[in-house]
């Protein structure tokens, strides 16, 4: 049985890589994908603790997080498409107007 | 080393089954293609492949060899790595799905308690093979074909998934084995949920991109869709994935709606003579092969024909084995596999029949059918089956419950069709075309 610390370190690694992606990349799509990575890291934590405490609640929260990720992806990608239509770019630092 | 041996010993049967599936599936897919060509030819007043082997029996092997030794063309500016592994994703997804399917009570790689969900999940991965292949080809035809294909598969996967939920609701389990066992002695779910079966049939045709939903490969519009730039063996791998997927959806439908490996009329004693059907069936095929053997034009063809006859004879003997008391235990495994594969074949035959009969939908019509008809109806179907279960729990007998729920779902279906027709409102009917002159 793998100790829970290992799961936590894995989750941490994914989380940090996700954060680095969000902070350093310019492409909004990659930023969104990095956010997915972060959510994923959280999911690992939840499931690991769910087994740790022998309680299914953590897994249910995972389901909610995945639902949330789907909603976020739909809206986020919708915004990207709408933005791309108007400005023809997907770079975060060019999204510098509050309206267009 | 001993650890490895122990591993092999523990998982001997699953490993053997896995190897069998990986080895046999391409051959099987090849022969499904041959059968498709033969059936198509029969329906179109032709003979089909006749040259390679007697009645074209060796055609799949010749085709595979030809594809293997063809030049491997990768288009310029293509994304080579993605181009290389996209077909592999497709075929892997299709093959992985077999790991949870039970071909007979004995032949199953892994019994999973999320069996059906696992199959759906894994086969949804096949989309990536298509979309990445279309993208990596660096061709507009491919990309457009891939996007169409993906949009279509996602839309119809929803309907197919909801249709499956109906069946799962009745069985009360996701495990393929338990679903089949739940139908044992009772009625197959196709008779309890005919609308669910119909929905799955249509959705699975669309999901496997076959006519009349074969828009991604609409030859008259998009050449060959996402496969346009593929040739040689990579193309064959895509083709294999397509046919493997067909077998997967047919297996799912068989498991969930057609009673899996169960013999028809399992519960009725006087129908037990059906037990003799499997060996007799093979015996008849073998007899026909031998009857045709002397009529072949070439001696080598006669030999191959006799070989096939012998093979069928062997299979007949295998099917007759359970009637020997010493081997009676092998009956569920052997006959189960026979009935399962027979049902799968019939399901695939209906695919082919539909393909050769209907024209192709237009893309917007296809999407409309998916979103405005299939998905609402499958939601209502799930609702109806839920009501059916509750009614059965309330000690209703089968027929009133069935008529009530299926009738209700059917009414919704009619309403949906009627509504769509009202919306489309064709300008006027064609009426009588001819008029007598003078």
């Amino acid at each position: 049985m793998v100790p829970i610390g290992n799961y936590l370190f894995l989750s941490l690694a994914l989380f940090i890589i996700g954060v680095i992606g969000v902070l350093t990349r310019r492409n909004v799509i990659v930023i969104l994908m990095s956010i997915e990575l972060i959510l994923n890291a959280v999911n690992i934590n939840l499931v690991a603790f769910s087994r740790h405490w022998a309680n299914v609640d953590g897994q249910i929260f995972t389901l909610f997080i995945i639902t949330d990720a789907a909603a976020e992806a739909a809206v986020g990608l919708g915004i990207i498409i709408a933005f791309f239509k108007n400005r023809e770019t997907v770079l975060a630092d060019e999204m510098d107007l509050l309206k267009w | 080393m001993s650890a490895l041996l122990e591993f092999l010993k523990t998982y001997m049967w699953p490993l053997i089954f896995a190897v069998v599936i990986v080895a046999v599936l391409p051959l099987l897919a090849g022969y499904v293609v041959l059968m498709e060509r033969k059936i198509m030819a029969d329906m179109q007043a032709r003979l089909g492949p006749m040259r390679v082997g007697p009645h074209g029996l060796l055609q799949p092997i010749a085709d595979a060899l030809k594809l293997l030794i063809k030049e491997d063309i990768i288009p310029e500016n293509a994304d080579k790595v993605v181009f290389w592994f996209a077909p592999v994703i497709s075929v892997t997804a299709a093959m992985l799905a077999y790991s949870a399917l039970a071909i007979g009570p004995f032949f199953q790689i892994a019994e999973l308690n999320i069996g059906l969900l696992f199959i759906v999940a894994v086969s949804s991965m096949g989309i990536f093979g298509i979309i990445l292949g279309g993208w990596a080809s660096n061709s507009h035809y491919s990309l457009l074909g891939a996007l169409r294909s993906t949009a279509q598969m996602i839309s119809y996967e929803t309907a197919a998934g909801l249709a499956l939920v109906g069946g799962v609701l009745l069985a009360g389990s996701l495990s393929t084995r338990e679903i089949v066992q739940a139908q044992h002695g009772g009625t197959w779910y196709v008779f309890v949920a005919p609308i669910g079966f119909f929905l799955y049939l249509v959705a699975s045709i669309a999901e496997t991109n076959r006519a009349p939903f074969d828009l991604p490969e609409a030859e008259s519009e998009l050449v060959a869709g996402y496969m346009t730039e593929y040739s040689g063996f990579r193309w064959a791998v895509y083709f294999l994935a397509e046919y493997a997927n067909m077998i997967v959806v047919a297996s799912i439908a068989t498991t969930l709606f057609l009673g899996g490996w169960l013999r028809p009329f399992q519960g009725t004693p006087w129908m037990d003579f059906l037990d003799f059907f499997p060996p007799l069936c093979f015996l008849a095929v073998a007899g026909y092969c031998f009857y045709r053997t002397p009529k072949q034009p070439e001696p080598i063809q006669s030999m191959v024909m006799a070989l096939f006859g012998g093979l069928c004879l062997l299979l007949a003997a295998a099917m007759a084995l359970p009637f020997v008391p010493a081997f009676a235990a092998s009956k569920p495994g052997l006959h189960g596999a026979f009935w399962f594969l027979l049902k799968v074949s019939l399901y695939i035959y209906s695919f082919m029949w539909i393909r050769f009969t209907f024209p192709r939908f237009r893309f917007d019509q296809l999407m409309k059918l998916g979103w405005y008809f299939m998905i609402p109806l499958s939601i209502v179907n799930v609702l109806g089956l839920g009501v059916y279960r509750v009614l059965r729990q309330l000690q209703w007998s089968r027929w009133p419950a069935f008529v009530l729920t299926t009738g209700g779902t059917l009414l919704v279906a009619i309403w949906l069709v009627w509504n769509a027709q009202k919306k489309a409102a064709a300008p006027s009917s064609v009426g009588d075309m001819t008029e007598a002159e003078g």
């Binding site: - | 179109q44 457009l144 008259s220 393909r355 237009r362 075309m433």
Partner: protein
């Protein structure tokens, strides 16, 4: 996210999501443009805003060739225009020259010509039906159609030795009399054929997908059809009752009873129905004609060297695709001074732009199919 409308249409260098219009090329090597037609489409998303036909890929200068051939020598050339209806082409040309000469073919020749031309109409429509169906995605009708077409081609082959470019008729009548068993074979085919049409109709006419793909697609109003000069099934599909076989009878058509099927809405489905009915009517004509082929000579009185008087003539017939007209000017020599051909496909093709506007790209395939064009005839 079904917004696939501006991605990667073939022939477009860059696709930008915001772009409103793109231009794509269909053909000349497209599998369903029936030869070498090239259509430039301007699209708004997948909807067609504008189109332009580019033709001439199969131009062979048939009209010019005529000026350097004697009248008889030119006769085989017309077979190469509408190569799926060579017999009809030959009939039009022979009758035009006969008119110019002021002679007429004997009755027996006329009846045989009528039978062969009607068989040719059936075979042309069969080929149209098969390819049209396969364009829309129905695989099977093609093979049924080819099966029956094969019977017709066998009759042609037995009659004149050729299947496709038959050169069946001669100026002044026929070169060959009918072969033994011609009547019996043709009659057997005709009696069988009406059931075959039922078979095709069983596959398509009531098919919901077929109706969805053809009804309301490529609508051409009667007024537009007349303005564009469309003829044949395209015109009749729009509800105009115009058939040269009735209006200005030629060959032996005035001897037989038949009806002119017309449509109402002028859409692809109506044209399909019209052609199906036309096959039945052609069959009916054949059956009537085969019953009594008058005895007598097969060749009228025409000399070995044809020298028509100075003058001009226009003669048109109802070819399977519409009005096929020949305008011949004679300067009194053995060679025509000018031959101008009015090809039905070429003129019907003009309606394409009107018909595909506002439809989807997938409908273009159906609409090109319903026009029943042969590029050999369009380009000549």
């Amino acid at each position: 996210m079904s917004d696939t409308r501006t991605t990667g249409f073939p022939g477009v260098e860059q696709t930008v999501l915001g772009a409103d219009e793109i231009i794509i090329n269909m053909g000349p090597q497209h599998p369903s443009t029936h030869g070498v037609l090239r259509v430039k489409l301007r699209l708004d998303g997948e909807r067609i805003v504008d189109s332009e036909c580019v033709i001439g890929y199969l131009h062979r200068g048939v009209e010019k060739i005529a000026e350097h051939r004697s009248y008889q020598q030119f006769a085989p050339y017309v077979d190469r225009m509408d190569y799926v209806a060579a017999v009809s082409n030959g009939l039009g040309y022979c009758e035009a020259v006969e008119k110019l000469l002021g002679t007429e073919a004997p009755m027996r020749a006329k009846v045989v010509r009528t039978i062969l031309t009607e068989l040719q109409r059936i075979s042309s429509h069969l080929l149209w039906l098969g390819t049209h169906a396969i364009d829309i995605g129905a695989l099977t009708p093609l093979f049924y159609c080819l099966r029956e077409r094969e019977e017709i081609l066998k009759i042609f082959e037995k009659y004149c030795g050729a299947r496709l470019t038959t050169h069946a008729f001669r100026i002044g009548g026929l070169q060959y009399d009918t072969y033994d068993g011609f009547e019996a074979e043709t009659k057997r085919f005709c009696l069988d054929f009406s059931h075959r049409v039922d078979e095709y109709e069983a596959l398509l006419t009531e098919n919901r997908i077929w109706i969805a793909r053809t009804k309301g697609i490529g609508v051409l109003s009667a007024a537009d059809a007349i303005d564009m000069g469309a003829t044949g099934p395209v015109l009749r599909g729009s509800g105009v009752k115009w058939d040269i076989r009735k209006a200005m009878p030629y060959a032996a058509y005035d001897r037989y009873e038949f009806e002119i099927p017309i449509g109402q809405n002028g859409d692809t489905y109506d044209r399909y129905i019209v052609r199906m009915q036309e096959m039945r009517q052609s069959n009916r004509i054949c059956l009537q004609a085969i019953e009594d082929i008058p005895a007598g000579p097969i060749m009228g009185k025409v000399g070995k060297v044809l020298k028509p008087p100075v003058g001009e003539v226009y003669h048109s017939i109802e070819a399977p695709k519409g009005e096929l007209g020949y305008y011949i000017v004679s300067d009194g020599t053995t060679q025509p001074y000018r031959v101008r051909i009015r090809p039905p496909s070429f003129i019907n093709l003009e309606a394409l732009d009107k018909m595909i506007k506002g439809h989807l790209v997938a409908d273009v395939v159906a609409i090109i199919g319903t026009l029943d064009i042969v590029l050999g005839e369009v380009d000549r």
